[in-house]
């Protein structure tokens, strides 16, 4: 059993952020599920990345392009060599989503503030409303790293050879009892259930309820390996739209060091609507 995280440098704690938030080579980024949380108060010096208005293409169902990503980083005062530290609400759910996209476009120095916004608040650390402005940088996005992103054809090929998937949704979504969240038809799917062979390991099981931090390396290894999610093969994680599964992707890839983990961002809202796609209930 492992006792330490594979890449501990991907995590910083709240005390580190308090000390380094305003270092010139560090940028703190808040990414939340709630679109207004940053506005009611954020870590001094932190900028906001909203997953909906900033990371998604407004027309196609896809993320912003490389040049658009580079422009966004420039506007936020992020250079290619900046250490970017993400934090957010709901146990860093959307913080890991933003980190995943930064990783996709090849940003090198990425961190998650362990415990996220909840832990920062628990410790009564300061939150401010002042929005900082940083000088624009010149930023170059790298070619997208397709080794961390799965498209539906990748998933088809993956299940054909019986490789493991992690379905990180709630048990009721996995079983098909809930086709979509009540009253949320626009982001739902016409069919319920899960991708054949997927193991149901809800994403939040990787975190401690008391302070939203990640569980220990030992506990995480136990959680995933006991369900057949092992490092010696290709793994695909998915949820409903790919945000919760980016949390599990982060845990598997950087805390447990699994070499080949992809996030399927099309997730159930694509699979559950695909004509002729195999579904298990």
């Amino acid at each position: 059993m492992v006792e330490v995280y594979a890449f501990p440098e991907f995590l910083v704690d709240t005390a580190w952020v308090a000390e380094h938030a305003k270092d010139s080579h560090v940028r703190i980024v808040e990414s939340d599920e709630d679109a207004l949380l940053y506005e009611i108060g954020h870590i001094p010096g932190a900028v906001k990345v909203d997953w909906f208005t900033m990371l998604q293409d407004p027309v196609r169902r896809d993320f912003i392009t490389g040049p658009e990503f580079a422009q966004m980083c420039s506007n936020l005062g992020i250079s290619n060599d900046t250490t970017v530290v993400f934090y957010g609400d709901k146990s860093n759910w959307f913080a890991t989503y933003a980190l995943w996209l930064f990783d996709y476009y090849g940003h090198e120095h990425l961190r998650i503030m362990n415990g996220g916004r909840a832990k920062w608040e628990q410790e009564n650390r300061p939150l401010v409303k002042e929005v900082p402005f940083y000088a624009k940088t010149s930023y170059t996005a790298q070619e997208p790293d397709q080794t961390i992103r799965a498209f539906r054809d990748d998933v088809m090929a993956h299940i054909r050879v019986g490789k493991p998937l992690v379905d990180v949704r709630s048990p009721k979504e996995y079983s098909g009892e809930l086709i979509h969240m009540p009253n949320y038809p626009q982001e739902g799917a016409t069919r319920g259930g899960h991708i054949p062979g997927a193991q149901n390991i809800p994403w939040a099981q990787a975190t401690n309820e008391s302070d939203s931090t990640f569980k220990s390396a030992h506990d995480l290894q136990q959680l995933y390996q006991s369900r057949g999610i092992t490092p010696d093969t290709d793994i695909i994680a998915y949820c409903r739209i790919g945000e919760r599964s980016s949390h599990t992707w982060f845990v598997l890839k950087y805390l447990l060091g699994y070499p080949r983990v992809k996030n399927y961002d099309g997730s159930w809202t694509e699979w559950g609507n695909l004509v002729n796609a195999p579904i298990e209930k």
Binding site: A35, L36, F52, T53, M181, N183, Y184
Partner: protein
């Protein structure tokens, strides 16, 4: 613009117009103002909140009660501080609907918020929070109507 607007209650109509006049990020700032203006729940409500009978349609726990005096409905709401978007929706509905009769509340179109243009800055899923709160207000209004008929 929607022709249905002509029949909206004046307070709600004026809120919608404020949102129409603001653009992009200003719409979020306006919503934030509503979130910050949410009245604290009265003491009797706080006692009930411990029982936490949340509106089941919302991912964010929304606690709502209503009373009726002289055929005017008054709503009392509590939404966690950590969910300012939902607090904004709730306060906006509270201000737009306060003092209306149950019948008037039942007539409000479920998609009234589409005219506010919030889909530019919020996902459909977040916007559905607003219809879930309205739906629950209508449910409470319906109970009053049914009880008095």
């Amino acid at each position: 613009m929607n022709s249905v607007n002509a029949s909206l209650p004046p307070a709600l109509q004026s809120i919608i117009e404020d949102f129409q006049l603001s653009e992009g990020r200003e719409k979020l700032e306006l919503l934030l103002q509503y979130a910050e203006e949410m009245p604290p729940p009265p003491e009797w409500l706080q006692a009930k909140i411990s029982e936490r009978e949340a509106v089941p349609e919302c991912m964010t726990p929304v606690f709502m009660q209503a009373d009726v005096q002289d055929n005017q409905m008054h709503f009392y709401l509590d939404v966690p501080q950590s969910s300012p978007t939902v607090r904004g929706f709730a306060t906006l509905l509270l201000k737009g609907l306060d003092g209306l009769s149950p019948e008037e509340i039942l007539k409000i179109p479920n998609d009234f918020y589409l005219d506010m243009g919030l889909e530019q800055v919020l996902t459909h899923q977040r916007l559905n929070g607003i219809s879930a709160i309205l739906a629950h207000m209508k449910l409470l209004a319906m109970k009053v109507v049914t009880a008095s008929s």
